[in-house]
């Protein structure tokens, strides 16, 4: 699959950026979270798809599309993880800075 990346690297990059953006937003997003039970089912589905990909049981074009989806999804997840972690780091730092400034102000008063 790596040898073929020249044909769709743009889409892989798009998936990673999309993930980064989603991860960035997710930290402060107020959207409804997926329940733990759903998470388990989704993880199971992802594992099943990965297993199907590695065992090569999906034939022809469907197999290729599955592989392509899994690669894009993996990069999306990586993007999400990096985005969320970075955002969390930025938020935490600005909060700490705000608190420090506030306490300094209180001390001055």
């Amino acid at each position: 699959m790596a040898a073929l990346a020249t044909f769709f690297w743009g889409w892989l990059l798009t998936a990673a950026l999309l993930g980064f953006g989603m991860g960035w937003i997710a930290v402060v997003h107020r959207a409804q979270a997926v329940s733990k039970a759903w998470m388990r089912w989704l993880a199971l589905l992802a594992a099943a798809l990965v297993a199907a990909s590695f065992t090569r049981i999906v034939p022809g074009r469907f197999g290729y599309w599955l592989d392509l989806f899994l690669v894009m999804f993996a990069l999306y997840l990586c993007g999400c993880a990096i985005g969320s972690w970075l955002r969390d780091w930025v938020v935490t730092r600005s909060t700490l800075a705000a608190r420090a400034a506030k306490s300094a102000q209180n001390d001055n008063l």
Binding site: F7, W11, G21, M22, G60, L68, M72, S84
Partner: protein, 464 residues
């Protein structure tokens, strides 16, 4: 880590555009990926010898069908495709080329084309054979009906190359190689072609042998045409060698006393046995015709034309076949030339003198037996005698000065008598002729040279 798990529960909204992107990516890249994999799979098999190779790509899966020429070749071809980066699965539909038993290869030549058929062990052998055929045969169309099969005998390429050379020497025919046995049939293009093919077949590679060689030689043709207007005798066709060539031309010179011999003969092997023994008397028969054609084809002699008088026609029709060697056939289509207009005694004498100045009636040495070479001249003399039926003719015999005068006198008389007998046998009345012998009493030239003696030995016709 706990935070990452917490945030991941809110990552799901991005999956919706991801799926859309995935759909677009799949839509746009599939055909390109398939094309690239097909091209690289074909490139990987570039140096592998396969027949009926077919590669189709579905996603990243390659369906590979081909006929291989060995099990090793087949396995390595499949491995080459599997090793192409990006290929996920190879659907192996390869198999071995069927084995031919017996392994047959053939080359057939007809009027317009050469057809190569049967089996060839490898595509390279096949294309080599086609190229060799086209190079050997000049502009002749070459049709490839060869299939591919395993099981060819060793040294197949060199054997077929040699056989292909032989096809060029055939006018039509077929050469078949069955395993290591060669069968040949057909007609050689040229005289000597059959012998050349037989000689070439001795160079077949080790282990190969000729089972049947039915190559026929083209007819061995010799032709002679006597043209009474141009006064030529044209010889065409073949003679076995230079000795026979010289003998035939010399015989023609003796028998055709007034014609110029045009020699277009070529020497070639392949003559039927007894060729010279048949052609020389046949030329003698032709020399007796006013106009005629002699065709000798293998062992068949055909003579056609106009004899100068009835008796000559009958003698030619009936007599010639007896002179031929065993196994020769003789066909004569002889008609008689219409009688020429009568002439008076003076013209008659002129015609006799003219004929006898061009040629001389020859006898066996020291005897009164007319040599057969003189038959043509005698027929002309008879024809002339028939044109002046009212005149009487003295047949005068002369000898050279050698030997006893009495013996010469007797010999000249006997020779004159022999000529008269010949004329009478041809149907002329004996009463018109008077044979006279003059011995050596009336020489034309000196008897001290061979040339002079030859001029003195003569028969003269004197109109009385």
């Amino acid at each position: 880590m706990h935070g990452l798990f917490k945030w991941s529960s809110k990552w799901w909204p991005g999956v919706i555009p991801l799926v859309i992107f995935w759909g677009i990516a799949a839509w746009t890249s599939t055909a390109t990926v398939e094309g690239d994999l097909a091209a690289r799979s074909n490139a990987a098999l570039k140096d592998t010898v396969l027949d009926k190779r077919r590669i189709s790509v579905d996603g990243r899966d390659v369906t590979f069908a081909a006929n291989a020429f060995s099990e090793d070749g087949r396995v390595s071809a499949v491995a080459s495709v599997e090793a192409v980066p990006g290929v996920r699965l190879v659907n192996d539909e390869t198999r071995l080329v069927p084995e031919a038993k017996p392994f047959v290869w053939s080359a057939e030549r007809d009027v317009v084309r050469v057809t190569l058929g049967g089996n060839s062990p490898l595509p390279s052998s096949r294309s080599k054979l086609m190229e060799a055929a086209k190079a050997n045969l000049g502009g002749v169309e070459v049709v490839d009906q060869m299939g591919l099969a395993r099981g060819a005998p060793l040294r197949f390429d060199s054997a077929t190359a040699l056989l292909l050379d032989q096809i060029g020497k055939l006018k039509d025919g077929r050469i078949t190689l069955t395993d290591t046995k060669v069968n040949l049939s057909g007609m050689a293009r040229e005289l000597g072609g059959r012998e050349a093919i037989a000689a070439a077949l001795k160079n077949l590679p080790e282990g190969y042998s000729v089972a049947v060689n039915d190559i026929r030689a083209p007819p061995y043709v010799f032709q002679a045409y006597k043209d009474p207007v141009a006064l030529t005798l044209t010889l065409t066709g073949y003679v076995p060698d230079n000795n026979v060539h010289a003998a035939v031309v010399a015989a023609a010179g003796r028998k055709f006393f007034s014609e110029k011999v045009v020699d277009n003969l070529k020497a070639s092997i392949g003559a039927p046995s007894g060729f010279a023994a048949a052609v020389v008397p046949a030329l003698g028969a032709l020399s007796r015709l006013s106009t005629g054609t002699l065709v000798v084809s293998d062992r068949e002699v055909k003579l056609s034309g106009d004899a100068l008088h009835d008796a000559a026609a009958n003698q030619i029709r009936g007599g010639l076949g007896r002179d031929f060697p065993q196994g020769w056939q003789y066909k004569a289509e002889i008609s008689v030339k219409p009688a020429s207009a009568p002439v008076d005694a003076t013209v008659c004498q002129q015609l006799f003198a003219e004929l006898l100045s061009k040629g001389r009636i020859r006898f066996e040495s020291g005897r009164a037996d007319i040599v057969s070479d003189s038959a043509g001249l005698l027929d002309r003399l008879i024809e002339t005698a028939m044109r002046c039926p009212t005149v009487n003719i003295e047949i005068a015999g002369h000898t050279d000065g050698d030997g006893d005068e009495a013996a010469n006198q007797t010999l000249s008389e006997k020779r004159a008598q022999a000529v008269m007998d010949y004329l009478v046998r041809a149907g002329l009345p004996a009463s018109r002729f008077l044979p006279v012998g003059y011995g050596s009493t009336q020489p034309l030239a000196g008897n001290d040279t061979e040339d002079g003696k030859a001029q003195n030995r003569r028969i003269e016709f004197v109109v009385k």
